[in-house]
Symmetry: C2
DNA sequence: GTGGGTGGTTACCCCGAGGTGAGCGAGCAG
DNA sequence: CTGCTCGCTCACCTCGGGGTAACCACCCAC
């Protein structure tokens, strides 16, 4: 999203958080990994429309931001598992109010 | 950000909320208007770097989403005031946890 | 008449996020 | 030998969000 960072009470924190979840698929990844660790191909199947390139890129960004953990199993065929770190779980929790707000005010049809 | 919307518990609410705050300056606008209503030129001065075109566009989007209220005073020179609606204040409140999280985990230097 | 400040709109351009398709290295099935 | 899976990486292209600058109508001060 390239959110603008400006000095100021809450906003810089917001901007920092936004920069972490900035990416077309990152929030989806967050919620998907919240349920349980997933393999690469599994994520690809769970997020219809994502390209391998972007999936790999956003997973790496989340990894370098300390949000997800990447575990490589030296097998054949290769296996890689992605999971949420404690930081990632905290981020997900911090996103919940926003989700509730959206569900309540923007999706009046949902249960 | 063009966040992907997918069916699923929280996520669709998140995606809906993200689509509302999607725009380089919208979060800044939210926090700026939280303090008090502001005029167009005032916002322009408070958000250094924003172009008039984009400022106007994002204000209109926030208006059509019911987040900000646009009040035109028929004076000369013309005066227009933007303020947060109740919905906008709710959105800001829903963003607070994210801001706290960002401040805590991404800005260790801040007080 | 000229300049300034108000709140915009419009045309044009740029850049980067993201999509597409190919290739890759290892190993097993046939 | 061929093909398939898995987890990527690379080159290429598209598309649209956002920046730039010009322009508009209105009125006042000089």
């Amino acid at each position: 999203m390239a959110v603008t960072r400006r000095p100021g009470a809450h906003e810089c924190g917001i901007a920092a958080a936004m920069s972490v979840i900035d990416g077309k698929w990152k929030v989806s990844l967050l919620w998907t990994l919240e349920q349980r660790p997933r393999r690469f191909g599994e994520l690809r199947r769970l997020l219809p429309g994502v390209s391998e390139k972007v999936l790999a890129a956003q997973l790496r960004e989340l990894e370098t931001d300390g949000i997800v953990h990447r575990e490589v199993y030296d097998e054949v065929p290769p296996r890689v598992e992605y999971s949420l770190t404690a930081l990632g779980q905290g981020l997900n929790a911090a996103l919940e109010p926003l989700g509730k707000w959206g569900t309540k005010h923007l999706l009046p049809d949902s249960a």
